[in-house]
């Protein structure tokens, strides 16, 4: 199978694309973020295109390694009739970027659009708060060959968008997914609103189409709707009924031109794309690829890492953040951003560990207590009585005492019962209230028996 995607995501701006209304449409009561322009009242004309939206679209195009169209770009009117579209047409720009690449998948083009309002048939209203919010549409080549590939592409794309700071997240995503299986025609699926939805739709569609083929039924070229609640697709229309949108250049908006200076300016200020960051982390911090990928999986996490390594050994910090921090975040279903864990806390924890003021085990317990905890790691450690590794002679004393008091266990060990060593370690731990390093203790016991 082959699959291509058309992904719409809202751009991150304070005001709408062609007026000054606010873009917090979800928080605002229905039909309060509106004006004659985004309502398309008779006679209202678009304000000049929101510059922040253009800048964000340009930045995302560059982060997805697109070429930038330096000719005149402009908005077209795409006409169709739907309750949520107060003008009867949607403004959609010609491509800003083209021929990009992400995860080995070609990006055909990237352009801007305005979001329509929200038709809420259940409440019998159209909420125009969303009308005119800037969108970016990213069109890929049909170069994903399994539902899993499509899913990982989308995850990576959302990560790039999140990194860019110029677009909103998966929550505002709407995707059209097209699929063609050898021997059948291209089928397009609409109304997909999440990465999971895209994955499920592809899974369903493969089964449906293969079943048709098995029965010798032709897979027709058509558009289908994805029903999120049931995770199935249903037919919408055949190719012959395709809409004619009667595209014309918008007479109300003058053409725009992206200059080399504009591009240079955006390139200078735009964040590093995650795949480039992975490369740099491996090279400059001498860490392995897996760690680099985990550390760059979230922009805030990557930023934190780069702060931490100013004071902590990069390899040590990478190991702790990849293993222990991730474990805790996953367990609590938190992103780093939302975890309440801050750079200074991690530096304090890692310093305690590196200075051997606490044991690894103690470190693990402390980090488990760190999410959304106002206490510092040191305070947590003190509260849990985890501060301090028992000094070497203290441990040696405990080891000696253990050996002396447990001759039976020593004998068993000497007779080949390795498990009795665990018992001895446990005894040492008990004497030191868990503060001895288990590895070190094993070594000391072995040394002292002989």
């Amino acid at each position: 199978m082959k699959c291509g995607l058309e992904i719409h995501v809202q751009l991150e701006t304070n005001s709408k694309l062609f007026c000054e209304c606010k873009t917090n449409y979800q928080e605002a009561p229905a039909n309060t973020n509106i004006c004659p322009v985004c309502l398309n009242q008779p006679g209202a004309k678009p304000y000049p295109t929101n510059e922040k939206a253009i800048e964000n679209a340009l930045m995302i195009s560059l982060m997805l390694n697109c070429k930038i169209d330096k000719n005149l770009t402009y908005f077209m009117r795409k006409h169709y009739d739907y309750p949520d579209l107060p003008s009867g047409f949607q403004r959609t720009s010609v491509p800003i970027g083209y021929e990009g690449e992400l995860n080995g998948v070609g990006i055909t083009e990237i352009h801007m659009e305005e979001d329509p309002g929200q038709f809420k048939p259940d409440r019998g209203i159209v909420d125009f708060n969303r009308s005119g919010i800037p969108l970016i549409e990213i069109v890929t080549e049909p170069e994903m060959y399994s539902p899993e590939e499509a899913r990982s592409f989308l995850k990576e794309l959302i990560r790039v968008l999140q990194y860019s700071g110029g677009a909103r997240g998966e929550g505002t995503m709407r995707a059209d997914v097209n699929i063609s299986i050898e021997g059948g025609n291209r089928v397009e699926m609409k109304n997909i609103n999440s990465i999971k939805g895209a994955y499920k739709a592809l899974k369903f569609e493969i089964v449906r189409q293969k079943n048709l083929m098995k029965r010798g039924v032709e897979v027709k070229q058509e558009t289908r709707a994805f029903l999120e609640s049931q995770m199935i697709t249903v037919g919408m229309r055949l190719k012959e009924d395709a809409d004619d949108y009667r595209f014309i250049p918008d007479p109300d908006l003058p053409p725009m031109k992206v200059s080399d200076e504009d591009i240079a300016e955006v390139e200078e200020t735009m964040p590093e794309a995650p795949h480039n960051k992975v490369k740099r982390f491996i090279e400059s911090y001498n860490i392995d690829e897996e760690s680099a990928k985990v550390l760059t999986s979230e922009l805030d996490l990557a930023v934190a890492y780069e702060e931490i390594v100013k004071e902590i050994d990069p390899k040590f910090a990478a190991m702790w953040m990849k293993d222990e921090l991730q474990r805790v975040l996953t367990y609590n279903k938190l992103s780093f951003e939302d975890s309440g864990i801050v750079v200074d806390d991690l530096i304090e924890l890692f310093s305690l560990l590196q200075n051997k003021e606490i044991t690894t085990k103690a470190g693990q317990r402390i980090i488990e207590n760190m999410p959304n905890n106002k206490q510092t790691p040191k305070a947590i450690a003190e509260e849990l009585g985890l501060i301090g590794i028992v000094k070497d002679d203290e441990i040696i004393e405990a080891v000696k005492k253990t050996i002396k008091e447990n001759p039976k266990a020593i004998e068993d060990y000497n007779n080949g019962q390795k498990a009795s060593l665990n018992f001895l370690v446990g005894q040492v731990m008990k004497l030191t209230r868990g503060k001895a390093d288990p590895g070190e203790t094993v070594k000391l016991i072995k040394d002292n028996i002989n």
Binding site: N40, K45, R77, D244, D252
Partner: protein, 460 residues
């Protein structure tokens, strides 16, 4: 007393704003029922405003430059709380939900907005016969059409119902009725006046402009409404002249046309009625005697103008009317509109189909730049192009014209819209008692020069 002198009289307490208004109200009471120029007036607010202004003037408070002057507004320009129907059943229930930029500017200068004028439905016409609210009569030639589409506006001026009217001009809709009603009408350079709030006919051609009995009325309105509007993308930012000062200076000039060159075209004359040519030629010859040099020019694309104009108009109008889908304003436009509006929507829908993309609309845009280049080349080093405004006299109300005959009214006026240049019409004389207009076109952004010419000609 011209309009500038009147505004001075009001400010000097020689004339009360209230009395000026009352004069108009009396005329409206007596004649509007038969002329059908105003669709709606708001007497009470206008009287309140006039009385407030008179008090302010009495108390030596500062008032705006248009204080006490009475305006009528074409029914396709948004004014809060008036029905802005564009003379269509489609919008019979639409109350202006905001003020167009030009309206805010007039109110800021203390102009009194008295009411809303009749027009061709959605400005798609040249006779004001296609209004859902009935035909407007021509006060200057009763029983004949007033021209259009701003026919109601022209009639409020010609019929002494107000001082100044705002119309809109897409292919002659200000100049054509100004010509037929024997008044002055001005279409500014495209972008000089904000279109924010003007209901679309053809967005790349539409322009708001003033109509009045004399040039000071035009120039005072222009001083107010010509301004850069950052909320409208086609609005241009340029150092605007003082139009009123220009108009007044021209009147005092000894030889206002000294050193000026005027182009006339045989192509324009050959499609114009002889009787009209005679009047217009006479006017242009007078200019010659005032020092102007008159040069013959060829305009090669006269046959291209109407097809180009109408193709662009159809497509843009189709697009602009998609919002009238019946959901927000009660009627779906196709269900309730008249024949001409329906024809334009159908044609626009037809020629913008994907299969014709590149065939009609793109050709029209190409033809448009040819026409624009030719006009700009002609105007290079020249001051004016002059001709008749309309090639024939207004027909009698009730006479049936086929669409092509109707379109032919526009042949001389569409050129200015296609090329974005400023153009005006003033009365040149009469044929059998019917007014005939002289059209003056100038280079882009040389609106001031046209005001100078109108003012000088007015003195002859």
């Amino acid at each position: 007393m011209n309009i500038f002198e009147k505004s001075q009289a009001i400010k000097n307490q020689e004339l009360k704003a209230k009395d000026n208004l009352d004069n108009f109200l009396r005329t409206i009471d007596n004649t509007n029922d038969s002329i059908n120029a105003f669709l709606e007036i708001n007497k009470e607010d206008a009287i309140n405003k006039a009385e407030t202004l008179d008090k302010k003037i009495q108390n030596k408070e500062k008032v705006g430059s248009l204080a006490g002057l009475v305006f009528s507004i074409k029914a396709n320009i948004n004014v809060e709380d008036f029905i802005i129907s564009a003379a269509s059943k489609t919008l019979e229930n639409y109350k202006g939900s905001y003020n167009a930029t030009v309206i805010d500017k007039i109110l800021k200068e203390d102009g009194i907005i008295l009411g809303i004028t009749n027009m061709d439905e959605f400005a798609a016409g040249s006779s004001s016969e296609t209004s859902y609210y009935g035909i407007t009569d021509n006060p200057a030639a009763p029983g004949r059409i007033p021209g259009g589409s701003s026919g109601g506006s022209a009639a409020t001026i010609a019929g002494d119902m107000c001082d100044i009217s705002l119309g809109s001009d897409t292919g002659g809709s200000i100049r054509n009725p100004a010509s037929h009603c024997g008044i002055m009408g001005f279409k500014p350079t495209y972008g000089a006046v904000s279109r924010q709030g003007l209901i679309d006919l053809s967005m790349s051609l539409d322009q708001i402009g003033p109509m009045a009995k004399d040039v000071t009325g035009l120039s005072m309105a222009l001083d107010t409404i010509v301004a850069h509007d950052p909320s409208e993308c086609s609005s241009i930012d340029y150092k605007k002249p003082n139009f009123t000062q220009t108009a007044l200076n021209a009147k005092n000039s000894e030889s206002p046309f000294e050193g000026m060159t005027i182009a006339v075209c045989d192509e324009f004359r050959s499609i114009t009625d002889d009787k009209i040519n005679k009047i217009v030629d006479k006017k242009i010859n007078e200019l010659s005697s005032l020092g102007a040099e008159v040069i013959d020019f060829c305009f090669h694309y006269i046959d291209l103008c109407l097809p180009t104009y109408y193709l662009i108009n159809y497509v843009e109008f189709f697009s602009a009317t998609r919002k009238f889908d019946g959901r927000k304003f009660g009627h779906r436009i196709e269900d309730v509109c008249g024949d001409e509006v329906f024809r334009r929507i159908e044609m626009g829908s037809y020629i913008s189909q994907k299969e014709f993309s590149g065939k009609y609309y793109k050709h029209a845009l190409k033809a448009r730049s040819l026409i624009k280049d030719e006009i700009n080349a002609m105007l290079k080093g020249l001051d004016f192009i002059m001709s008749s405004t309309v090639p024939k006299l207004p027909h009698k109300i009730g006479e049936k014209l086929d669409p092509m005959e109707m379109y032919a009214y526009d042949v001389l006026t569409v050129i200015a819209n296609l090329s974005g240049i400023p153009a005006a019409s003033m009365k040149a004389g009469e044929v059998d008692g019917i007014p005939v207009g002289l059209q003056i076109q100038a280079n882009s952004l040389e609106d001031e020069k046209i005001i100078h010419a109108l003012s000088a000609l007015e003195e002859i």
